[in-house]
Symmetry: C2
Subunit: 214 residues, 2 copies
């Protein structure tokens, strides 16, 4: 199968989606070749940073030619694991859960959304973007039976730990958590948090320091 | 007014919301005093990291006593600028815009949501959590007149740059961007991005490397 990249620092890994995003944009504009210098101006990284980052994966540029955008995009997709498919469920079918279910990139990149779950009897039984909403009581059984790898938690924070426990018991390998709380899970579970308020508070920090400067 | 903290690294700043979150949780559990050791176990930072982080702001602990949770929480709130209020608008009243409008922390921490804007005539005129939805054509005038500081972009990515331009022209100081695209804005505009797919792609990277290890 593919290569494994276990000794690459998370700092490098966390920059890869940005490469993915910019290369996709270039392809959409039918740009097929780009120098590390041009890429660096677009992305706000130095050209040497870009060469270093990509060298971690074998390096894809050619001296005097630059990068083949299509090839580089394909490689980065592969490195990011976006050629695989992942059985996915969303818990919490409120606005946020629905926003994520409708999120265009979700299905396109292999995140195969199989069901949403909610406690609200008005939601149970309906479909969102053609995906059924089930009662949260059915979560464990469904997840175990359907080979689900990713559980997306979009519940209020009071319920998030309980949901995480159920997901772990039913065998998911990873949790994408939107509840504003850090969850306790076994070490082998991959946990990726999106703490919206953390990002908002950084904004207010920058705003309030900015104002004081002025 | 308050102190300004311009020479503190963004790495430290980006950890502050996590302190805020954990201290808030301690207060909710009526824990009023904590050692840096206990805090470090909870948060997964080393005790020395915690002392270093907090020393940037003058240090709040007392040898042999630890931290007064309420005091420390209050200080971190102040440092994060959460004692101020910020006039805020959301552009894009779809699921994501609504999720953010309903987000409990929004109003509580001084983000004073004044209006949502949308292109959809079915949305214009309704209220979401008591906040009016206006036609996006009214964005510039409303924003300029109402002393809006934060524009939250929840539109599809095709419209995001145009909205950002309008926000800048009408005088906002900062943009909280949820559209999956990096926006061009003048240097003095504070830009905080929440690229959901970046986070999802990190998850798939970790998942696919994890699978190959096994």
């Amino acid at each position: 199968m593919g290569k494994s990249y276990n000794n690459i620092s998370m700092a490098v890994i966390r920059r890869l989606p940005k490469y993915h995003r910019y290369l996709k944009e270039l392809l959409d504009k039918e740009v097929y070749r780009i120098s590390s210098k041009e890429l660096s101006v677009m992305m706000g990284f130095t050209a040497s940073q870009i060469r270093q980052d990509l060298n971690n994966f074998g390096g894809f540029g050619q001296q005097g030619y630059g990068y083949n955008v299509e090839e580089l995009y394909g490689e980065i997709k592969k490195i990011l694991g976006l050629n695989n498919t992942y059985g996915t469920v969303i818990i919490g079918a409120g606005n946020l859960g629905q926003a994520i279910a409708n999120y265009a990139n979700f299905q396109k990149y292999g995140f195969n959304l199989k069901a949403l779950f909610d406690v609200n009897p008005k939601m149970v039984g309906i479909k969102i973007s053609d995906i059924p909403v089930y009662d949260v009581d059915e979560l464990q059984e469904f997840t175990a039976k359907n080979n689900i790898e990713i559980g997306v938690i979009c519940t209020p924070k009071e319920f998030a730990q309980d949901i995480a426990d159920k997901l772990v018991k039913s065998g998911v390998s990873s949790i994408w958590n939107f509840a504003p709380v850090d969850l306790d899970v076994p070490e082998d579970i991959i946990m990726e948090n999106v703490h919206l308020s953390d990002s908002l508070f950084i904004l207010s920090y920058l705003l309030s320091n900015n104002n004081e400067e002025a």
